[in-house]
Structures are given as C-alpha cells and as structure tokens.
C-alpha cells in the first residue's frame, strides 16, 4: 500500500480488520423470543448485529469482539454469551 500525501486513508477500509479475533465470549442469538425491537443491533459498538428477518437477528463474527452488550440489553433474554472455543 503506497503512502499517499502523508497518509490519506481510503474510506470504509476498516472492514478489512478482523476484530473478531479479540473475542473470548461469543453471542448466541437464540431466535426464540425475539420481538424485533432492534436494540441489539442499535447498541452494538461494532455495528455488526443485523436482522436476517423481522424477528431474527444475527451478527458478523468477523467483527464481534464479544462485549456482550447485545445480550445485556436484550429485553427478552434471547441472546446468550458463551465462552468461545478456539
């Protein structure tokens, strides 16, 4: 990667960065009692939680650092954090 004019960076390139490797705990989206409130997606500091269907959410394991905010904030306890086997 050539240095351009003192270090310009191209937009949206952080996606190349695999922050999922930081994880100790991984969320499990049970997809049982989900009401589709979207809180999990809103509060994720990585912005890597997303809906596949209206009441079915999942996350991108490439970026999830396993902070557990989605699980802590889920009002219906439909997300569990489990120790990740690596």
């Amino acid at each position: 990667m050539k240095v351009i004019l003192g270090g310009l960076a191209q937009p949206a390139t952080s996606l190349a960065n695999n922050t999922g490797t930081w994880r100790n705990y991984i969320p499990v989206f049970l997809q049982k009692t989900c009401t589709g409130c979207t809180i999990c997606a809103i509060v994720c500091p990585e912005g890597c939680v997303y809906s596949v269907e209206k009441k079915k959410f999942t996350f991108d394991a490439k970026y999830c650092k396993g902070c557990g905010m989605c699980a802590a904030e889920c009002p219906v306890d439909d997300i569990e954090m489990v120790m990740e086997e690596k």
């Binding site: 191209q10 937009p11 390139t13 890597c48 991108d60 902070c67 905010m69 904030e73």
Partner: protein, 305 residues
C-alpha cells in the same frame, strides 16, 4: 450487515461507548457531511492507516483544534460556494473539548460557524490511560486524581460545558447519552437543521476508564441519567426547552457508583459515606435545577427506546 457510515473493524475496546456514540451521530447525520476530530481514542481506533472506519470525509489534525479545523472547512465551503455539498460536524472527546480545545471551540462559537460540535464525554483522558479532565466527575479515581490515604479522587466538579456554550449565544445545545440512542440521533438531526453553531454532548461510558463491565455500558449510562447525575436536556437560544424526565423516585447514586471501579474507594474506606452524600447532593441539585423528576413514576420508567 446494516449499512453504517462508521464501520466495523475499528479497534475500540470491548463495549466502547464512544464507538457507539460516533456511529449513532454519523448515521443520523447521513453521508453528506464533513467531519473533523480531535486527537483521542476515537481518532486512534477509527483511522489507523491504511484503514479508516469512516465512510464520510474525515480529518484529524491535532488534540486541541477540531473546532478550528472545522471552522476552516466551513469557511472553505462558503468561500467556494459549496455549502450545499456537506454539513460540518466537529468531534472531540471531553479533554479535547472542555480543556485543551476550549479556546478553539470558543472561537468557533463566537464566530457563529455553521457547525455541529459533538463532544463524546467519557469523563477522562482515556486515550492516554485515564487521567482526569475538566469533565471528570467529583471523586472519580483517575491516574492523575487517584484516591489515596488522604484523597477521595477528583476534587473538582464537572465543567458546565452547556452553560459555556450558552454564554456564547449558541442557538442549539443538547446533552444526550448512548443509553438513549434514538434521542442522540434525533438531537443530531435537529441540530443539523439549525443554522449556526450547535453543541451536543453525548455521555459515553468507557469500560476501561470507569472500570465497568463492558456488557453494562448501556446500563451504566442509563443509571447516570436516572440518578440525576447526567441530566439530559435541550437548550434553545439560551433557555432549557426540553428535559428527559427520570422515574420518580430517582435512583440513589450508589446504584450508579457501585457498578464502577472508579468509585470503588468510596465504599471501601471509612468516611466514604460522607463523600457519597456529596455526590447524591450533586444529583439532587441537578434534579432540582433541571426539573428532572417525572410527574408519574411508572409511565416513564417503562418507556422504551
């Protein structure tokens, strides 16, 4: 994944309130913005060359000049007839805003630039390893305001930035918290609809500096509001026009303090009760000053974002 303007792959800590705050702000603002940022955590974890988490034009220059660089951006857009191209958002942490960057911010306010300044308030210099700032709360334990045999931590009260902004005649001022994401976003949108300087201060917990559970970032942030320690309000043309009411009775500050290691010394050492009382007093004064308590306790308590 959802389409965001502040993207994954950034290198913020687990459960970072500031990363969440920044994403909420730029997503609300939309793609037609130019953002500046002060040196600090946000800049470091979002723009480590050759990567950038920003999908919007972004410039970081120095610790103390985000507001001045934004002033230059805005002046350039004006001078070149490009005002329609982008709104300007200046960003900074609490140190870059209330301490070292205050002079540049004052200049920006005074000159009336059409800029939204967003302060991500995590209440200390986190980028350099948790030292106190002008927005560090009373009794908070930081590396430069440590608790010790003869110290309860930070001796000073939070600098009242909204009042400082108001004294400059800033037409729109708001506080917000990542605990209420939609509120953050609607305030950003409202701010951007107003011409002139705007100031929005977003409370963003820092699990590292606050020594709190990363999973509880939202919970901690919410308690700051529900205890009255972090009043959420809007000021328009110098007058408080809207307040986020908190459930009656307000939660005791201990509920908030106990979740955070930065206040742990208050509960370990003899005499801590008196200090906690002082903090409760700060909350009580906020509640009175801003009229934070709701009329009906239950109604607000169940309000969900």
């Amino acid at each position: 994944m959802e389409k965001h303007l502040f993207l994954a792959g950034h290198t913020a800590c687990y459960g970072c309130g500031e990363a969440l705050g920044a994403r909420l702000v730029v997503d609300a603002a939309g793609p037609n913005i130019i953002t500046t940022d002060a040196t600090g955590c946000l800049e470091v974890f979002s723009s480590r060359w050759p990567q950038s988490a920003w999908a919007v034009p972004f410039i970081h220059s120095l610790f103390e000049n985000s507001a001045a660089v934004a002033s230059g951006v805005e002046a350039a857009l004006k001078a070149m007839g490009r005002q329609g191209e982008a709104k300007v958002i200046a960003q900074g942490g609490d140190g870059g805003t209330a301490d070292i960057g205050l002079q540049c911010l004052s200049g920006m306010f005074e000159r009336g630039h059409d800029i939204l300044y967003v302060c991500y308030d995590n209440e200390a210099y986190m980028n350099t390893g948790v030292q106190r700032s002008g927005l560090t709360p009373y009794d908070s334990d930081t590396r430069t305001s440590p608790s010790g045999k003869v110290s309860w931590g930070n001796r000073y009260l939070k600098k009242d930035m909204p009042a400082i902004a108001a004294a400059h005649g800033v037409p729109y001022i708001a506080t917000a918290s990542v605990a209420y994401p939609k509120d953050v976003q609607s305030k950003v949108k409202k701010a951007l609809s107003i011409t002139g300087p705007k100031y929005v201060q977003v409370h963003v917990p820092c699990p590292l500096g606050w020594k709190s559970d990363p999973a509880l970032t939202i919970k901690v942030a919410k308690l700051a509001v529900e205890t009255g320690l972090y009043p959420i309000f809007e000021m328009e043309n110098g007058v408080v026009t809207k307040v986020r009411k908190i459930p009656r009775p307000a939660k005791p500050v201990t509920e908030y303090l106990k979740l955070q290691g930065r206040f742990a010394h208050l509960f370990k050492k003899g005499g801590g009760e008196a200090e906690v009382k002082k903090i409760q007093q700060i909350a009580d004064e906020n509640i009175k000053k801003y009229g934070l308590l709701s009329e009906a306790a239950e109604k607000v308590a169940v309000e969900k974002e």
